[in-house]
Amino acid sequence: MASLKELRARIGSIKSTRKITSAMKMVAAAKLRRAQASAEAARPYAAAMRRMLGELAAATKGEEGAPRLLAGTGQDKIHLLIPISSDRGLCGGFNSNVNRLTLQTIKKLQAEGKTVKLLPVGRRALSFFTRDYADLIVDKVTGFSGKDVPFSVASDLGDKINALLEAGEIDVCTLVFNKFRNAMTQVPACQQLVPMVMDDVVAKADAASTTAEDVAQYEFEPDEATLLAMLLPRNLQVQIYASLLETAAGENGARMTAMDNATRNAGRTIDSLSKVYNRTRQTNITNELIEIISGAQAV
């Protein structure tokens, strides 16, 4: 059995761990609120973008020579996967969920004979994939999570994808990230960026054009094709930005939950250790008393 001194030291160290985890929980909760607010603030732009894209897609429907961002390269050989993780750990299964889903997707695609390329976002995904798949990594983005996500991160990433696509180095591009359900649950999911999944947008556009508000035909300046060519890269950036914001919110949500659990576990461990400590102390006192009494009787 551990001595009293050892027990005291262990209780002390767990108490300070509990202080740290509960402080981290508070910080994560505060950051979560901020991240959620900025995710919500970014929604109107994405919504308006979708509406415009729907109008444009409806206007250019059936025309030839659609931009690659919209239609892809017409092939399905080289896949670019973009796992979005956080830069720091201590947030439960948040990062490993994304990494695991990416890993499964890589294996599935490779089994189908496709070439896979990786563009990890966040240090956790980068270090995970550097271990086994270093030769697949074409680029990386790290060092922004934990702060407010600037739009420039998303626009740079969008430009990189666009450049790879135009150079013919990728055919399909997919994001893997944690969808933010609520502070407790984040669901890892794949979202295809290129070629764009237009079904819902076009359906919405068809629905919109039949409603009374926008019956009149849209004018475009400059022409539809030029506008579409300008709007598509923006839309790509906006989608990436949305997923970055969701990741930021999810990271803090996951950390809050993980730290809450850790704090509770620490409390429980302190309780049980204190019980052992008190019992040991009593036993020691009893032993000492027995020794004294039996000593006195012997005299």
Partner: protein, 136 residues
């Protein structure tokens, strides 16, 4: 009859209210959005969006390029970046212009598409400096 104007940057909604007229910098010239206008989609260059109420300018916002979507009752401006003209920092903008000029000097002069993008950025920053220094 007023028109609903929204200026939205990727980060947030800057303005959402009713005004009489909005003048915005279209890629091919300035355009005003007024009530009962035919629906139109427009590519914007960097410049100043002015909001009019009763024939006077009430607010001016700088947008660094973007898109506008106008209908009879509303006008939505999707700006790449947007801020009130009063919030422009001329020092920052000047530094940005210098950095861009440097990039321009180093850029491959045969890469037309890249030069186009750079030129647009430079024009946009110049417009920002102009807007900021004109005061309001």
């Amino acid at each position: 009859m007023p028109i609903q104007i929204e200026i939205i940057s990727p980060e947030k909604v800057l303005v959402s209210r009713e005004v009489d007229m909005v003048v915005m910098p279209g890629m091919e010239g300035d355009i005003a959005a007024m009530p009962e206008r035919a629906p139109m989609m427009l590519l914007l260059r960097g410049g100043v969006v002015s909001l009019y109420e009763n024939d006077t300018v009430t607010d001016r916002y700088f947008v660094g390029g973007g898109f506008a979507d106008m209908t009879a009752t509303r006008c939505t401006i999707l700006a790449d970046e947007a801020k009130p003209v009063s919030a422009i920092s001329i020092d920052n903008a000047t530094a940005q212009l210098e950095a861009l000029t440097e990039v321009w000097d180093k850029a491959d002069k045969n890469d037309i598409s890249r030069l186009d993008v750079l030129q647009e950025k430079i024009l946009s920053v110049r417009a920002e400096i102009d807007a900021g220094s004109s005061g309001f």
